[in-house]
Symmetry: C2
Subunit: 323 residues, 2 copies
């Protein structure tokens, strides 16, 4: 399958690229490469093409779309935190350029679009295990924007005759996640431990469903299968962990000392996000999620061995941030 | 109460202005007035101020917002039909200028925003009586845009400390509704009868919940009461009428002959929209909806007595279209 990965040099995108290459797909990475060249994707030699450009109505994206069958869309200009005080950035940076991309994709006769949406912000303040049928009640502009993009993708699929898969992903974590810019507490904590700084725990009661990034990549490879039809999937383990629980796991797993500073919860932190991923698991018989302890151990191992956990320039998150 | 009505010269807006003036509120109408001056609102003499301008970050809107306590927002640049092939118009014409307005409203320290959302497009393809707790599943870009605007309004209220009321209105009809531009089958049919042309029935099985515009104005006056808190309300009678049923009522009520041409349903026509308006009715003890027969009779009477049923220039619907 010929596959284009928008934001393929980002955290989630690069892992999906790894997974697709292993399956023998013909992969092109489309990214801004703000560091000048690939910073996360790599090691695939000639098996991955690179294309530099911006999301939106650009000649670079038009060119990159030629002949592609499946397009993964991981690009986001915002995070839940950054969007809180700047909702306009959702429109200018995410919704509008995605709609421009959808127009180009229709012209290029792409067959399927796979979108990394946000299970952590779309459902809002609801307790319990959330399924794809739970009502969407986003509270942050980030979640409002993701929901609007989901809608526009579905509409353009229907109007233009291509298929789409929308993945509402819980709290992704794992190697290569940026440690700054509000992109994931586990990456942030690991970076702080490596720097000898205390961990910050915002709203310690908050419950999150942490999913290891390689599991996400495996599950999202579903969109590169030869099939017909459009789907909406949660990606979540169905298990919630409180920040206090996460601190305990860190104490068990991380072979370094650290202190924890308690902070009040932030406006964009909802109390609980736990997603049922059962619908997608039906397509992966026998699939097992990586245990949180194991995932954190592996993330720590890569980070402490020198993986750059710093994100590109602050204030400009350059690729997906799914929570 | 000092009240600003954005789109106050439109169909819904002008009826809300009438209702607010009767209650003694201090009303300003903000509109593009594309016909050069008021075309729907009028007859209130010095009791209504007029301000001309565009929705968005404009000096005219900034000026009009000074000292206002409540702002009704009825402006829309699109209809469900027009949005189908041009989703970008939702972003450029509705979502973005509304966000600009919200910024100005926060600066002006407005106390409450009341938004005319769309009960007919936000719920999508669902059967049965829909409540405010039914999941939103918009299919048209128009509904996707309305849902995003609802979200951004709620967010800005929370972030800036003002209240908001969101009204998801079923199929509004009544005097002053534009007959063209995809804005309501009853106005369109009455205009066709007056012109001696056959009525077009698209997808005759489609069930709609028609609400008389004066009932809507009465119910939306709730936002001009002195109170605290934000609300989401459906406005619907809870009674569905099929297009065939509507044709029967027309035959009973309209003292003129007409023919009906059957057309296939359009992509943006969902099978059924019937809304429970019970939540809002609790605030209006003893309220009775105008019977559909009576409402059509009154709409016909005004239209046949010479009310201009023509909309402003086609392709530029200038004010709200709620369905």
């Amino acid at each position: 399958m010929r596959v284009l990965v928008l934001g393929g040099d980002g955290f989630l995108g690069s892992h999906v690229v790894d997974r697709l290459v292993v399956s023998g797909h013909d992969v092109t990475v489309f990214d801004r490469f703000p560091c000048g060249g690939p910073s996360r994707v790599g090691g695939h030699g000639q098996r991955v093409r690179l294309a530099r450009g911006e999301l939106g109505d650009s000649p670079e994206l038009r060119e990159a779309l030629v002949g592609q069958e499946v397009v993964y869309h991981f690009i986001s200009a915002t995070t839940p935190g950054s969007s809180w005080d700047d909702p306009m950035a959702e429109i200018v940076g995410n919704i509008r350029p995605t709609l421009e991309f959808l127009r180009l994709a229709a012209v290029a006769k792409v067959r399927r679009i796979a979108f990394a949406s946000s299970g952590g912000t779309i459902y809002g303040r609801q307790d319990g295990l959330l399924t794809e049928d739970s009502p969407a009640r986003p509270v942050s502009p980030y979640g409002i924007g993701k929901l609007a993009i989901e809608g526009f993708i579905r509409h353009c699929c229907e109007a233009s005759g291509f298929d789409c898969d929308i993945y509402r992903i819980a709290n992704a974590y794992g190697p290569r996640q940026p440690a700054r810019g509000g992109q994931g507490v586990i990456a942030n904590w690991i970076a702080r431990i490596l720097e000898g700084r205390p961990l910050e725990a915002f709203g310690a009661g908050a419950v999150r469903d942490y999913v290891f990034v390689e599991d996400i990549a495996e599950l999202m490879s579903f969109s590169a299968r030869a099939r017909a039809g459009s789907e909406l999937f949660n990606i979540g383990t169905g298990r919630g962990t409180s920040l206090d629980g996460l601190i305990e796991i860190f104490r068990d797993v991380i072979p370094a000392r650290f202190e924890v500073v308690r902070r009040p919860g932030r406006a964009f932190d909802v109390p609980s996000i736990v997603l049922s991923g059962e619908r997608l698991l039906k397509e992966f018989p026998g699939f097992c999620y990586t245990a949180l302890e194991e995932g954190i151990r592996r993330t720590w191992a890569e980070a402490s061995a020198g993986w750059k956990t710093d994100s590109p320039p602050l204030g400009h998150p350059r690729s997906e941030d799914v929570r």
